[in-house]
């Protein structure tokens, strides 16, 4: 009987596990315990059960932040995919300067969203912004003035800036998807008499499903934890109108409500879990 020697080579994954365990998994688990206390970050913590969670749902600001976060995430996900797909369809044809156009459209996505927020702040700030004056000089005063002054206009601006910045990213993924569709499929449909609209919905879209799923899921999850662009463009204002849950977590933490802020993080975690589980379900169904 051969004695099976311990395979040391399998432990080569230990360094990665160690880093991930200490700096990600441990704080994640620690946060669960912390969310059940009234800890202020300095003194001793007292177990308060679910009080933080109950407080959260009784705080109008917190409920509003959930709404802001969801509106931002859904608005961004829908528009990023529509715009990204349109760009990809446009770029999936032959013309001169195509590769330059692709680089230019992708360019905004490499810049820090925080810096992007500042740039758009310079453009849109009522009274001083560049576009504000450009539109005034063009004789279009109706187009200016209300940006960022109310909840709905500020939300629109945030979503549009996010879409402007990252539609190049969704475009690249849709382009890769479009290029993997064999052209025979479309040709065959053409011979069978399908017009281009029918070919798009019956051939292209079904074949693009993997790319659509990747894009929708990454966009929703990414936008649910939105932080940078709001910090620089509106700072969550006017008032707390455009504050996202991530920003609320940070502010509660700095406001010495450490236990409470980890409870909010748990709530955000469960919100993010929904699209994650749906996408896993969809992937499994496909397999």
């Amino acid at each position: 009987m051969a004695i099976k020697r311990f395979n040391w080579a399998q432990l080569l994954s230990l360094p990665a596990l160690l880093i991930y365990g200490v700096f990600f998994v441990y704080p994640l688990l620690r946060g669960i315990g912390m969310s059940l206390t009234d800890w202020d970050g300095m003194g001793s913590a007292r177990f308060v059960g679910l009080r933080n969670f109950i407080q959260f749902f009784h705080d109008p600001r917190a409920i509003h932040d959930i709404r802001t976060t969801l509106v931002f995430a859904l608005g961004s996900a829908v528009l990023l995919n529509v715009v990204g797909l349109l760009y990809a369809l446009l770029m999936n044809t032959q013309f001169k300067g195509k590769s330059i156009a692709r680089v230019i459209i992708y360019l905004p996505a490499i810049i820090s969203p925080l810096i992007m927020g500042y740039i758009w702040y310079f453009l849109l700030q009522p009274g001083r912004g560049f576009l504000y004056h450009a539109f005034l000089q063009l004789g279009l005063p109706d187009l200016v003035g209300s940006w960022m002054s109310s909840y709905s206009s500020a939300m629109r601006v945030l979503v549009l800036v996010n879409v402007w910045q990252f539609s190049g990213m969704t475009m690249i993924i849709y382009l890769a998807g479009l290029q993997s569709i064999p052209s025979e499929l479309s040709e065959a449909a053409k011979i069978d008499g399908a017009n281009s609209w029918q070919r798009f919905w019956r051939v292209t879209v079904p074949m693009l499903m993997p790319a659509i799923r990747i894009n929708v899921v990454t966009n929703i999850i990414g936008s649910l934890s939105v932080f940078d662009v709001i910090m620089s463009l509106t700072e969550g204002g006017p008032g707390y109108a455009t504050e996202s849950l991530s920003i609320y977590i940070m502010r509660m933490c700095y406001g010495s409500r450490t236990g409470y802020s980890t409870a909010v993080a748990m709530i955000l975690f469960f919100i993010i879990l929904i699209p994650v589980l749906i996408s896993m379900r969809l992937t499994r169904q496909k397999d």
Partner: protein
């Protein structure tokens, strides 16, 4: 079948308009950064700046953006090195020596892949304080490495699984230890995996703000986004010419790197995304 010229011209027009929309904010940032402090905004031609280069000198001297760039470079280089080496090793172990242990490691990393950093930032802050890792480059490197680790392990595992096992067997016959087999044989031939990983994560580490604003608050340890946000808050919305010049300095390195590597970049992005 030839397309109609009208359709083609319309398409090119649309593409040009989209490109202009993408470049316009950058151009205006440049204009703002070159306007003299005394310029009254709504006088003269909006699109032609004063070419007041002194802004860049002032911005560089007042904003600490130079230190911040060095810090960002150190954090990015350190994080990429750690995640490539440990993530590559883990990918090798998972692909070549599967078992209960590595099944657990892979499941844990992939299971947590979608959880954004903000979820555990507050308890992490407490841990970092205990480790005296706040306001240190190495502390930030550890945080960023953990955040990028699932992506590294996933990419390396996928690529190494696609390599023929005969490579390992031949190396073992020649007396290579598993570590040497990975380092001398596997790692060099999966360079596309490393490229893919760097492309998908490099800019994100360089641009990190959500963690930096917790862990890098001291003036000489700030990374670029944190330095910018501190600098901008200091002026509370005034002195746009200096803020714009600082922003231009801050984005020049990423734009140059992107333009130099754009071919590999677009390719790596499409490859990496479709594998995920």
């Amino acid at each position: 079948m030839k397309e109609k010229t009208g359709v083609k011209a319309a398409r090119i027009l649309v593409v040009v308009l989209i490109c202009l929309a993408c470049l316009m904010p950058f151009y205006i940032l440049l204009v703002l950064s070159l306007n003299a402090p005394s310029r009254v905004f709504y006088e003269g031609n909006l699109f032609v700046p004063d070419f007041y280069w002194q802004n860049y000198v002032d911005a560089w001297n007042k904003s600490r953006i130079g230190t911040a760039m060095l810090n960002s470079a150190l954090i990015t280089a350190g994080t990429l090195t750690i995640t490539i080496v440990s993530g590559g090793l883990a990918g090798y172990a998972i692909a070549r020596h599967p078992g209960k242990f590595n099944g657990f490691v892979f499941g844990l990393l992939i299971g947590c892949m979608m959880i954004p950093g903000i979820i555990n930032t507050v308890p992490l802050y407490v841990l970092m304080r205990k480790l005296h890792a706040i306001n240190t480059i190495w502390g930030m490197v550890c945080v960023c490495s953990a955040l990028a680790m699932p992506s590294a392990v996933f990419i390396y595992t996928t690529f190494i699984r696609a390599q023929p096992k005969e490579l390992d067997e031949a190396a073992a016959l020649d007396g290579c230890t598993p570590f040497m087999t990975f380092w001398k044989i596997i790692f060099p031939i999966i360079r596309p995996a490393t490229a893919s990983f760097v492309i998908l994560n490099g800019f994100g580490i360089w641009n990190n703000y959500a963690q930096a604003c917790f862990f890098l608050q001291s003036r000489d340890k700030q990374n670029i986004p944190q330095a910018l946000s501190v600098f901008f808050q200091q002026f509370a919305g005034a002195r746009w010419h200096l803020m714009a010049a600082t922003a231009v300095i801050a984005i020049i390195p990423v734009v140059i790197i992107f333009l130099v590597f754009q071919k590999q970049f677009i390719k790596g992005l499409s490859d990496g995304a479709m594998k995920g």
